[in-house]
Symmetry: C2
Subunit: 262 residues, 2 copies
């Protein structure tokens, strides 16, 4: 799917998504590409990569050790990108396999796309199942009625506009207010600035849901409904790995009821 | 992934997505569920269903014949829903397999979710690759910078607000202004009301792209850039099956350049 770059050449680097639930969200096409690559670089933990069939497993290189705890996220991303570019330089074709969809909230993939194309490489991006896909499935919401997607912290910092007549998905509430990485520690964000910002648009009884999709086969998703006024009382466990779903002002009553909101 | 309904019961009805490019966008999980169902109802054409492995093919029932040309879309959708509910009633578990993601712009799936749960059934929705996923991959845009999704005709009819600082995806421009079905005929919509509405937010040189993802293996996506002022000159071929990508006001210059806009 080479939309730009050098479509006349074979891809040197594939940006692939592992989906939210691994390995069951892998598509047939992604599996075919993985099989055709010489090297699979990934930020999935080794325990996930061990679930792949042996012909793929032997080509995998987990870059997880490059992500350092309590470090600035951007610095980690640059180091990981550098390692993938180096692999694509020396043993192409290379696959970068990242959780979710490669271009939905993924700074490393965005770096790789720009850097790879700047080098004249054919970089192919393949779609995959993202947290947007799983959350819409879990809350039963069709974006035909309007959907706005933001990063939770950017919304508040940049004072971005909300459209109360549309539903809103706010990604990464668990990292709200922090540039550092919190892979292992249960760091709890202070969501009161987010609550106060949303209160400009919705009343304090407006139901909001922290949705965490299951990442293990058979595990149920976690949907934690809170009235907006109590958003900041969410625990680290409620917010970890979640996305915040804010129904539209009109449908809030029915959406909340339908999903078992209090 | 039973978020509501009767999670204690086994699902009677699965709402599944075929992805945009069939069958290569099918996930391992979707294939597992299809194998476990007694009946697969689908609105994919028979020629697509024939691509499935024989153990699945023999269980398929294409409901494509229910979709009547030049009829009100809603009436077609009700008849198809009715046929699926009947199958789920008599030979469960049943899968409904629809193009894209089952809850992204899919009235039949939304009907089935509501009607099934109203009957006390456990209806399970599985995420799949939608046109939102393919288009973001094709234009190389990460919604971390903000993304607003609307139905193109609803935007204009309901005078919904646009946020120029975010990118916008407008779905189904090919059906703009028509409630009728145009499966076979090359019906060209009059997009001038859409152009005029968007001109309230962007200047006439603002680049917009009709993106049609490839639905056949190996086929390249079609990305047709137009300055907003010339939106209504798009041909039926440009718009058929496409989604309109409108970059943010800030990034329009670079986005256009990056994607080869004129």
């Amino acid at each position: 799917m080479p939309s730009t770059g050098r479509p006349d050449q074979k891809p040197r680097l594939y940006l692939l998504g592992a989906g939210v639930s691994f390995p069951e969200h892998l598509t047939l096409r992604t599996l075919d590409i993985l099989a055709a690559c010489n090297r699979i670089c990934s930020n999935l933990p080794q325990s996930d990569l061990d679930l792949l069939p042996s012909n793929l497993r032997s080509k995998c290189r987990s870059l997880w050790s490059i992500y350092q705890e309590n470090r600035n996220r951007t610095e980690n991303y640059m180091d990981v990108s550098q390692a993938v570019l180096q692999a694509a330089d020396t043993e192409p074709p290379v696959a970068w396999l990242t959780p979710g969809h490669p271009l939905i909230f993924d700074s490393v993939s965005q770096n790789l796309l720009k850097s790879g194309r700047a080098r004249g490489w054919n970089v192919e991006v393949e779609p995959a199942i993202s947290c947007v896909d799983t959350i819409l499935a879990e809350v039963g919401y069709d974006p035909a009625n309007g959907l706005l997607i933001y990063e939770a912290y950017a919304l508040v910092m940049q004072r971005l506009p909300i459209i109360p007549s549309s539903a809103t998905l706010l990604l990464q509430p668990s990292a709200f207010g922090s540039d550092l990485t919190h892979y292992q520690s249960q760091w709890a964000p202070d969501l009161s600035p987010l609550r106060d910002y949303l209160l400009r648009y919705f009343n304090s009884a407006h139901p909001c849901a922290f949705v965490r999709s299951h990442s293990l086969r058979g595990a149920a998703p976690q949907i934690c409904w809170k009235p907006l006024g109590e958003l900041a009382s969410a625990s680290a466990q409620d917010t970890a790995g979640s996305t915040l779903f804010v129904p539209s002002a009109q449908s809030a009553g029915s959406a909340g009821q339908q999903q078992g909101a209090p």
